[in-house]
């Protein structure tokens, strides 16, 4: 009998989770399962959201093109071989199974050797178990194999397409939050470390309206944006405006915002708990192909909503009276006040607009992935990076900077950034760009003296 090698190629795709792995997750995403030993399914779609996708390939001893191995039963277990079963599936005609998982953690993929077709044997020690560390997942390809022969991964082209798709979506979400941050920074000079908590606010508000009041996700999202705007208005009135009137310095206000961030994050955790939860709709959606790009319906909606919102906001800021007033205040508050502008009113408007945009980022993030008490905090550094990269306080700069950051994060792994820490690439680029162009891409050089 000719010894043939089979290899497993696992792609761990999943939620866009940034910077810090979230702790233990409680609620499971629905897990499609196929009964073990049944006939090979025609097609196992890749589960959106967190999943482990395994492709089983017959390497034929390294000669010729590897071919998929259908009809093999694979089981994914949590933590260890004796852990809870997450799902079992039988490889389809492409040799693929795709099993949804709950989130970060350790998973064990076990292959049932009895279901291997005639003539196919495992190479090497014949090990049938592999352990996968799932971290920070969007499209993290973790490749492992049973046997010693390295398999070619997904082609470079398709990885670039995938990375670009995820990067643009991530970049747009970052851009919404970054525009909010930039507006507030531009008009008040406040470096707001509690901005991440405004993102979380939008997401948790969506969850509460959706799961708590049973409203459809779309309605819940709209209400959450309104709630965010109201929250921003009250925050400015109740906290920041009194501080401005007292003449509190910018650095002192920045530290106040750090305190506020700790406070709000702990409150969220108190009320919402440490677990990651899903909304009631649009959790699992298959992707359709549009040319070379695969997109799910919710991803299309997210892209459309964010692009339209960003463009409308930016154009409005360029054209309308309020927009001009905002830019005037950000240029010179004292002068604006003395020329009869209601500076406090303008700043209120900026807070409402800024927090609404940021809340929308949270809503879309909740739809795209899941809801967690520190999702905004995890995103904060990338939002800062986007704003700084584009140029502090510039509107278009925040957009461009955020898109670059999103793409850097998602495309980094294609170009050799270790997949489990793909944010590193974006942050390194940020530092390098600041070295060459300290004012950011669109920022203006400062006048000294």
């Amino acid at each position: 009998m000719r010894l043939r090698l089979a290899a497993l190629l696992a792609a761990v795709a999943g939620v866009l989770m940034l910077l810090a792995p979230s702790p233990a997750l409680a609620q499971a995403t629905p897990t499609p399962t196929a009964p073990a030993g049944s006939a090979p399914a025609a097609d196992n779609p890749i589960v959106p959201g967190a999943n482990i996708t395994v492709t089983l390939l017959d390497l034929k001893g390294g000669e010729g093109k590897p071919s998929p191995v259908p009809g093999v039963s694979l089981t994914v277990l949590k933590d260890s071989r004796s852990g809870a079963e997450v799902g079992t599936q039988t490889t389809d005609s492409k040799g693929r199974v795709s099993i949804g998982i709950e989130g970060n953690g350790t998973y064990v993929v076990e292959l049932d050797p009895k279901t291997l077709p005639e003539g196919v044997e495992l190479s090497g020690s014949g090990e049938t178990v592999k352990t996968v560390q799932v971290k920070l997942a969007s499209s993290n390809f973790v490749q492992f194999q049973i046997g010693a022969v390295v398999v070619e991964e997904a082609s470079l082209g398709s990885k670039i397409v995938d990375g670009t798709r995820s990067g643009i979506i991530a970049g747009l979400l970052i851009a919404l939050a970054a525009l909010g941050l930039s507006l507030i920074f531009g008009t008040t000079g406040l470096t707001n470390f509690a901005h991440g908590e405004l993102i979380t606010f939008g997401a948790i508000a969506t969850y509460v309206f959706n799961r708590g009041f049973g409203l459809p996700v779309v309605v819940a999202g709209v209400l959450a944006v309104l709630a965010s705007a109201a929250f921003g208005f009250l925050q400015d009135r109740g906290l920041w405006r009194p501080l401005r009137n007292r003449g509190t310095g910018l650095i002192a206000m920045m530290i106040v915002s750090i305190g506020l961030a700790l406070f709000m994050r702990s409150i969220y955790q108190y009320g919402f708990g440490g677990s990651t939860r899903t909304l009631s709709q649009y959790v699992v959606q298959g992707r359709d192909s549009y040319g070379p790009i695969d997109l799910s319906h919710k991803e299309i909606a997210i892209v459309l909503v964010s692009v339209v919102t960003l463009l409308v906001t930016c154009i409005a800021l360029m054209r309308t009276r309020l927009g001009k007033a905002m830019r005037a205040v950000s240029d010179n508050p004292a002068l604006s006040a003395s020329s009869g502008m209601r500076v406090d009113g303008v700043i209120s408007a900026v807070w409402v607009l800024g927090t609404a945009l940021t809340g929308l980022a949270g809503v879309l993030l909740a739809v795209q992935q899941q809801v967690n008490f520190q999702m905004g905090f995890n995103l904060l550094l990338l939002v800062f990076a986007g704003v700084t990269l584009g140029g502090l306080g510039t509107i278009w700069g925040a957009l461009i900077g955020s898109l670059i950051i999103g793409l850097m994060v998602e495309l980094g792994p294609v170009f050799g950034v270790p997949a489990s820490i793909k944010e590193v690439g974006a942050l390194v680029v940020l530092i390098l760009i600041l070295l060459v162009r300290p004012q950011g891409i669109l920022g203006k050089a400062q006048r000294i003296g």
Binding site: G259, S266, L434
Partner: protein, 331 residues
């Protein structure tokens, strides 16, 4: 409710090794932020690079312990230089963003599964503290009624408070000198200092390196007292807590960071112990529907956030500071 336990927990934490780590890190931040006005939000990065400098030298490269200490300190100095050269000529916010980004980069790299062979992945490294533990002269732990420490903690406390004392003395000596005067002047107005012929960049760099070295000492002490170097210990939240400790005690005061760290841990441990007791047992003081035991552990962080805000608004000079000479009301 057992108040003895609460008091024991509070005092043990205020005098214990964790407060020392905070004190050392906050002394560094005091040099950066309190005296010079540099917004370093990456103190955790200085700590982690020194800590892993030691751990990697001893564990991964199998080199002597003392060489590891040297490597760790050099790593902290190099990090300060690398961060300072591009950013110290720029506005204060840029240093903030670059330091915070760098500390996250370091933490992610140290915890990355791809570099597990060097840095130990998310579990980190251990087995480098043997020399430190063998130097322990104590035979047993101590229980003084309101505080109790194990044998290892007792040794760490001895080493740690000695380090804090030496560091504070050095800061005191430096800050009463003309060198310290230049730093304080830079904090207020760089251009004025420049117009008097002082190389502002060089002074800022010296301050950044000095504060970074204190951060490095904090990081090394942290991993020695617990015997393991774990990447997640060095997250940005740590830096924020260290700032809170500094501001409680008062920025730009020699003993501000030390007193602040002790108060910080006294409150964190005391409040934690109180609410933990209030929610545990068969018939808890606070009913289950109001607060579970898990939620009880969050109360101290809610209060910490609130306290930091109120402190900054109503007493920015800290509990003992002098309002006329603090750094943070201006700009």
């Amino acid at each position: 409710m057992d108040f003895g336990t609460i008091i024991d927990a509070a005092f043990s934490a205020a005098l214990g090794p964790q407060a020392i780590v905070f004190a050392l890190a906050a002394i560094g931040l005091n040099v950066h932020f309190g005296y010079t006005g540099l917004l370093n939000f990456g103190q955790a990065g200085f700590m982690s690079i020194a800590a892993f400098g030691l751990a990697v030298t001893v564990v991964t490269w199998d080199m002597p312990f003392w060489l590891g200490i040297v490597v760790g300190m050099i790593a902290a100095v190099v990090l300060a230089l690398v961060l300072g050269i591009p950013t110290l000529r720029l506005r204060a916010d840029y240093l903030a963003i670059v330091t915070i980004a760098t500390s996250e980069i370091l933490r992610l790299i140290f915890g990355a599964v791809e570099f597990k062979d060097t840095f130990g992945g998310s579990n980190g490294l251990n087995g480098f503290a043997g020399t430190y533990q063998r130097l322990n002269p104590y035979g047993d732990g101590v229980d003084l009624g309101i505080v109790s420490f194990s044998r290892n903690d007792l040794w760490s406390i001895t080493v740690g408070w000695t380090l804090v004392a030496i560091s504070s003395l050095l800061v005191f000596a430096l800050m009463r000198s003309p060198w310290g005067r230049v730093l304080k002047s830079i904090r207020e107005d760089e251009d004025a200092v420049r117009s008097l012929g002082k190389n502002v960049f060089a002074y800022k760099m010296q301050a950044l390196v000095l504060g970074g070295v204190f951060g490095g000492i904090a990081g090394i002490f942290h991993i020695l007292k617990q015997g393991s170097a774990v990447p997640t210990d060095f997250n940005t939240t740590f830096t924020f807590y260290a700032y809170a400790a500094l501001l409680i005690g008062g920025a730009a005061r020699v003993l501000g960071p030390v007193v602040g760290s002790m108060i910080f841990w006294f409150l964190i441990a005391g409040i934690g112990s109180f609410f933990s007791q209030a929610t545990s047992g068969a018939d808890p003081l606070l009913p289950e529907w109001l607060m579970t035991n898990t939620q009880a552990s969050l109360i101290r962080f809610i209060l910490l956030g609130l306290g930091l805000m109120l402190l900054m608004i109503f007493r920015p000079q800290g509990i003992f500071g002098d309002r006329r000479e603090i750094a943070i009301d201006g700009r």
